[in-house]
């Protein structure tokens, strides 16, 4: 069973307040029928000494620990000055409702933040993990990566203007547009320029020109033989178009004289095992020196643009006789096989 609580009266003792002036009781004597009042006397009573608070400790401010514990609000003209500017000695920082400014020891403003407009100016380098900006106006921007546009940001756009505010280079989702400008590609010892007039390059596209002056013999009217030294391996790193040209100029066809008073050789170009375009026939004109018969050679050429797969393809010039029983040996003054890679 619970025991009843016992309550005791709170005893408040009497303490004298510090520095309290104790008034002396007035004394009265002979009060019978006549009151004799005697004034109280205080001789050389000193004023209490002044006490100065060395520390302020409250719920919002603790000067002992140098901590602000609550929120404070500046008055209309409130401000904080950190440090004292002294030319050549020290700078300062000032915080006011209008913003924050800082000066170095030479009095130059090193940064400022305008509290009214939100404008900020920093003299030094600003480093950030990321920057999200509506627009950037800067003397220079140095960044590891810059992304323009994207999810929730729409299409990216980069515009380079000249001093007259004309848009010169526009980089957007559709590509690169250059107004009255050019693209210049510089490599060691070579420059390629692309502008509205075309392309100028000091770096020629790869080519090879193979020249020979003898085909070798062939009397076969069905099977082609390789023209001597007119075989070339062409290597491309990726699927690529090349221009292949073969040309025969001057010279003569030597051959055994048959029943027909002329000679004829047929040429073709092949890439791998595929014939490129049509064959060409070179007819001859009889030349009888009295001791031998030769046939003066005309001139012909084969020009083809061919798409080569990545890798190496053997391109060769071949020939055969077109007259049964006649062995032909073409000895042109110049036999050329040229390839030109249309790009590199």
């Amino acid at each position: 069973m619970d025991q009843d609580k016992v309550y005791y009266p709170e005893i408040i003792e009497t303490y004298a307040l510090p520095e309290t002036v104790v008034e002396e009781e007035t004394s009265s004597t002979n009060y019978v029928g006549k009151t004799n009042l005697v004034p109280t006397t205080q001789v050389d009573k000193k004023f209490p000494p002044r006490n100065f608070a060395r520390e302020t400790i409250s719920e919002t401010l603790n000067t002992r620990t140098k901590k602000i514990l609550g929120e404070f609000t500046f008055g209309q003209v409130g401000a904080i000055a950190i440090g004292v500017y002294e030319n050549g000695v020290s700078g300062d920082i000032r915080i006011t409702p209008n913003g924050i400014t800082a000066r170095d020891i030479n009095g130059n403003a090193t940064f400022s933040i305008d509290g009214n407009t939100g404008d900020a100016v920093f003299k030094g380098t600003v480093t950030a993990g990321s920057v999200i900006s509506g627009s950037i106006i800067s003397g220079s921007v140095i960044s590891g990566e810059i992304y323009l546009g994207g999810a929730n940001n729409g299409d990216g756009l980069l515009v380079v203007r000249d001093a007259l505010d004309n848009d010169i280079v526009i980089l957007d989702k559709d590509g690169i547009t250059i107004n009255n400008g050019k693209i210049e590609l510089n490599t060691s010892g070579s420059t390629t320029i692309i502008d509205s007039l075309g392309l100028i390059s000091g770096s020629n596209f790869p080519f090879a020109q193979i020249t020979s002056s003898d085909t070798g013999d062939n009397n076969d009217t069905t099977n082609y033989a390789d023209v001597t030294d007119m075989t070339v391996d062409v290597t491309v790193a990726r699927t690529q178009q090349i221009l292949v040209m073969a040309r025969f100029a001057g010279g003569e066809i030597e051959g055994t004289l048959t029943t027909v008073p002329y000679a004829q050789a047929v040429f073709r170009l092949v890439a791998g095992s595929t014939q490129l375009g049509n064959t060409v026939s070179i007819s001859s004109i009889i030349h009888d020196s009295g001791t031998s018969v030769s046939y003066a050679l005309g001139e012909a050429s084969i020009n083809q643009i061919v798409t080569l797969p990545a890798g190496t393809t053997t391109i060769k010039l071949q020939f055969k006789s077109s007259i049964s029983g006649q062995t032909v040996r073409v000895v042109p003054s110049r036999c050329e096989l040229i390839y030109f890679k249309m790009g590199s």
């Binding site: 020629n204 080519f207 020109q209 020249t211 020979s212 001597t228 030294d229 007119m230 290597t235 491309v236």
Partner: protein
Amino acid sequence: MKNFIKNTQIIRTNDPEMLSLIKKDSGYKEVSEKDYKDAINFKSSIDTIYTKEKKNNELDNYL
């Protein structure tokens, strides 16, 4: 741009892949621009140029 001769063949090329293939073939001999033009215009036979270049190379090796 480089010029080479081999047998009856004269090659003029700037193609890196072609140059790589030529480098692997010891039969090709690099010749000067003048020798190339002499050969292409039949002012000198390929054999003559080849022999001259061979002697030059031998002299270079000797020196």
